[in-house]
Amino acid sequence: MTDDESTLQHQIDSFVGAEAGPFLSWDTVNRAMIRHWCEAMGDTNPVYFDPDAAAAVGGKEGGVVAPATMMQAWTMTGYAGQHPPGSDTREGMPVMPVLNDAGYPGVVATNCEQEYFLPICEGDEISVSSIIEAISGLKKTALGAGYFITQLSDFFNQRGEKVGNMRFRVLKYKPAGSTG
């Protein structure tokens, strides 16, 4: 490890344990966004379209349920990269800008482990809080050298019930062949 790498490692390690959130959703859980998601996934499961079918899997008050694997989509920042008003103003992953500045601009997700505890129902307001669980040492990969960052997130509905959780790992890397 070079001195620069050692300094950077020390700096990024300090972000392990950093908490952030809650971050809110721009939209309540709604049928239009569910339908667009299902179109792209080719998913025709009736519980996402038909309240009668949804009632058998926890749908409420004449509403549909959302795909479990759509959980993360509700709290994404969207086009402008901003969380909605009322969200925590801290960075969700504050180590990212540090690695950008250090010459590791690439980011690619490598792992996603989700558990689902309650159905996400039409009308729900989903929020997420997270913590940085781990940051690796510098690793050589096919894309280039970089660091694996693991974030743990808990997703809640408007009643404060935990609907699911997620362990999400990304590689933050310097593209192979780049001189930066």
């Binding site: 966004m33 667009h36 998601w37 179109e39 792209a40 996934m41 080719g42 998913d43 025709t44 499961n45 009736p46 519980v47 079918a53 058998a56 899997v57 926890g58 795909p67 479990a68 694997t69 759509m70 993360q72 989509a73 509700w74 994404m76 920042t77 969207g78 086009y79 990269g81 601009p105 690439g106 980011v107 690619v108 997700a109 490598t110 792992n111 996603c112 482990e113 989700q114 558990e115 689902y116 159905p119 894309l143 280039g144 890397y173 593209p175 192979a176 062949g177 780049s178």
Partner: protein, 136 residues
């Protein structure tokens, strides 16, 4: 849609395979449907600048396809309890991802089934997943 009961399932059962044609349209549409505006999922020049030959499917979509693949098999009364995926070879336009799955455990106490799901493209395994789904 046919629905599967817990009593229908045996260890080692294979899921019907699914071919997913990977197109630029699918990659961009599914990235936006999952609210992921990272440029590597819609902008080829940006993807190249970061060392990829082309745009590639985002992980939220791979996750969605793994879930859909399992609930296509269970029918509408199957409820996903866990989806854990690891990504390998990227899904680039022009490729086909062939999904396969196998029952690796059945849990009588909570009527759940564990599956190994693989989505393979011409570069190798795009996604390997472990899924838990409960059945009536």
């Amino acid at each position: 849609m046919k629905t599967l009961s817990f009593s229908d399932v045996r260890m080692g059962d294979q899921l019907p395979s699914l071919d997913v044609e990977i197109t630029a349209k699918l990659i961009t549409a599914s990235a936006i449907a999952t609210r992921d505006y990272q440029d590597v999922h819609h902008d080829q020049d940006a993807a190249r600048a970061l060392g990829s030959p082309n745009i590639f499917m985002n992980i939220l979509t791979s996750n969605g396809y793994v879930g859909r693949f399992v609930t296509d098999w269970t029918g509408s009364t199957g409820q996903l309890k866990k989806v854990a995926i690891q990504l390998g070879a990227p899904n680039y336009p022009g490729d086909t991802m062939t999904m396969s799955g196998e029952v690796v455990a059945v849990n009588e106490d909570n009527k759940s089934v564990e599956l190994k799901v693989v989505g393979k493209n011409k570069l190798g395994n795009h996604v390997v997943g472990h899924v838990v789904v409960s059945l009536p």
